[in-house]
Subunit: 263 residues, 4 copies
Amino acid sequence: MTEGFSRDSMRAGNRAERVPKTVPEAIQQVVMANRILSNEGILDALGHVSVRNPVNAATFFQARSISPFEVTPEDILEIDLDGDVVTQTTMKPYGERIIHGAILRSRPEMNAVFHGHFAAVIPFSVTNTPIRPITHVGSFLYQGVPIYDDYEPDGGMLIRTKLEGERIARHLGRHRVHLLRGHGCNIVAESLSRLVASAIHLRENATIQWQTLLSGKEAKYLSPEEAEAAMEIALFGASPIDRMWRYWVARVKRNMPDMKDWK
Amino acid sequence: MTEGFSRDSMRAGNRAERVPKTVPEAIQQVVMANRILSNEGILDALGHVSVRNPVNAATFFQARSISPFEVTPEDILEIDLDGDVVTQTTMKPYGERIIHGAILRSRPEMNAVFHGHFAAVIPFSVTNTPIRPITHVGSFLYQGVPIYDDYEPDGGMLIRTKLEGERIARHLGRHRVHLLRGHGCNIVAESLSRLVASAIHLRENATIQWQTLLSGKEAKYLSPEEAEAAMEIALFGASPIDRMWRYWVARVKRNMPDMKDWK
Amino acid sequence: MTEGFSRDSMRAGNRAERVPKTVPEAIQQVVMANRILSNEGILDALGHVSVRNPVNAATFFQARSISPFEVTPEDILEIDLDGDVVTQTTMKPYGERIIHGAILRSRPEMNAVFHGHFAAVIPFSVTNTPIRPITHVGSFLYQGVPIYDDYEPDGGMLIRTKLEGERIARHLGRHRVHLLRGHGCNIVAESLSRLVASAIHLRENATIQWQTLLSGKEAKYLSPEEAEAAMEIALFGASPIDRMWRYWVARVKRNMPDMKDWK
Amino acid sequence: MTEGFSRDSMRAGNRAERVPKTVPEAIQQVVMANRILSNEGILDALGHVSVRNPVNAATFFQARSISPFEVTPEDILEIDLDGDVVTQTTMKPYGERIIHGAILRSRPEMNAVFHGHFAAVIPFSVTNTPIRPITHVGSFLYQGVPIYDDYEPDGGMLIRTKLEGERIARHLGRHRVHLLRGHGCNIVAESLSRLVASAIHLRENATIQWQTLLSGKEAKYLSPEEAEAAMEIALFGASPIDRMWRYWVARVKRNMPDMKDWK
């Protein structure tokens, strides 16, 4: 696993996505992903995001235990897949970093993980309602969004033990997203740009789907064939994914004074 | 078709609307339309807007493939009605520019086209629910809002072929707006100011209509006679349309630092 | 009627409200009311607000036909109760200024009028659902909110004739608020501070009431006695009304660069 | 009661929470709590927050009668538990300060009180619907949220008499939150950081719960055991509470120019 980004992610790279090739690039990108997710209202004080080390697939980069709003390159830790901090530092990591390690271990074709709690997914998670693609930007959800409800007793609904991390990874399986009942969701993707696009459009799709189901009207969802094509072309295609990332970066630079001159 | 803006649009001009007379004016206006639609939250990274060339009705102006948030005059391409880029450039156009060409060809009395994905229209599009004017600023919807659901197989729900462009134009017919199932909407108008007003008030009307229908109460919509008069006077009249455009421009200038000194 | 603010409004003044005593004060206040209503998202490009002339009860002050976002003291016109512009100027007034004149004529105890279209009231107006006080800041609605639906044919749902102005005033009667079906609402109050508080809290009350009725649950509204006392003490009392006005002004000064040094 | 913060609150201190030890620290914190609650949209012109005097448990600190948006250290009054202002000043206190005194007297283990009116709680309060923890950040609600409806006649739904203050304290009992029918809510906590976290997540939980119940679907709420553990670990644990407070402070510093250099 130490050969770095997998074949699939290289293909993603060939498709002109922003896949980091060096450690500084990876750190740069994960800082920006934090800021975007904060600026777009996806993450508040809690929640976190990670990216696999491009030169060592057995570690990943993630901020120390601060809000995504505040993350700078100095706050990024290198952590191994068991959740042990590799960086020589006294900085404290997130309690739930185990989620990231466990999912990156079980999904070698993937390179980025998101954990967050935005409101739009909670009603689905507590009513056992499947999220389905209702709009083309929700197409990446077409293989299903299972709902995890197998928490450690007394764990406060947090995922912090190695055992529960493995359970989480098994439950996610080959899906891109699963929900944690009464808590939030985990997302996995080939790259940070796809990951951020997934988080933002999961919220969009869930919001629209809930508004639709409140009407009691029957809805026509994307067929699996439509969704697969839409995911490849309209969402994760080189052109839209690049346009989205540039847009979110431009908004971060406008709204966050300390990011104004970020290259 | 090369005589430029049609008789109807000239009448619009007579009514003091902001109809460009020169290419630089058209470019200026389409840049501002992009910024307004971004600033008012109608478009995010995706979606696009176009204006017919005032001195050559067979071409239109549209940004290269970037987000409306970022568009400057340097990003505007001239494109013909088949979607071929006329401007000598290596800049990449939007994949879905064919929508704009096909609609402008089939609607010689119109001069501006919008394609976007805001959430408020999706529930209507997937439940086959007609959008109807429920407020006077939604009056322009009174001739109906058909729902397109005739996508190319494997096209990812995007409109990118000449054939599908023609199908889109035929489906829109003489309407001002149609929805694309699980995707978004297209809007056509005599001018960019009317187009922007249509997009913003389509969202307003759709939001209010959905909130109303969730109650199960019977609603009194605008009658066709009321709506036609309201469209002519209260929405597209010289006074309200001018006031709206100035307002949106003033907000762009306040919120977007690089537009502060836009004349 | 030329003796200026009526006895009731003087009592309001005694209660430490911001009742203007001079023309410059009235102009100052109506500019600020415009900016507050824009800044709080109550008015966009359309809608308008007026205040009675404190030294001549037969005229009122209102902006020329521009958005509330942009209003400065130079934009304020003096208009008589028939809607004729008194100010020597070529500046264009709002088409619907007749609403303000007609209501101020029929309500000598009142000094300020609002006309606007925010989304929260429309569902009530088209489903014939009475707005009722569901929260103490909606207490001022306790005498009922009738729904006007007696438009001129072919008037585009706008109120622009003297005859319809009178019909509007009669329909409003002794109420503080009425809705215009599929259009918006008119509000009247003793002072601009009460008027702005009424507009903002009408939106709040309507939003909460609609959310509540969507549940189908029976709601306990404020009793008339509760509402009357809450209006007098908790909403229009000298202390809350003053605190609210200062707060809205402070936000205008933060958000609108050209108002930063407004005294 | 003059020994200052109680044993329980000291334990909170041991858990690295931001418990003030001196009067200047308490004032500093209560100013910041005001600004956070304003900046996060929890309080507008009305509502207030208090903190117990760390060196005299029989008094508390609270702003004079201005909006939380504007509060500076110069605006903070010392008030005793009967609501009498201790500070030698002509500044006017809030009418409802009695709420704070009465609750702090009946809850010696607590040190901070919130009173506010955000929209999300009102539908529950008027339909007698119990708020329950539906998300892990709403865990602190697990002991129930009673609904107060025992107002003084003619009091305008405000809590301003000593007698009603005592009734409020009795009704709150050992709970952390109760609702006031058609008015808002009171919250009590060990520290200002927990108090602010409670207010923000009460809104979050109430919003999600109402959206969920509108669907008519049965929801799985947190069990009492889950909720208690989640409250201790995931919400009020030293790590999340510290991360949240720092985040909210960072946002205040970005959005409020006069707070930019707050240490």
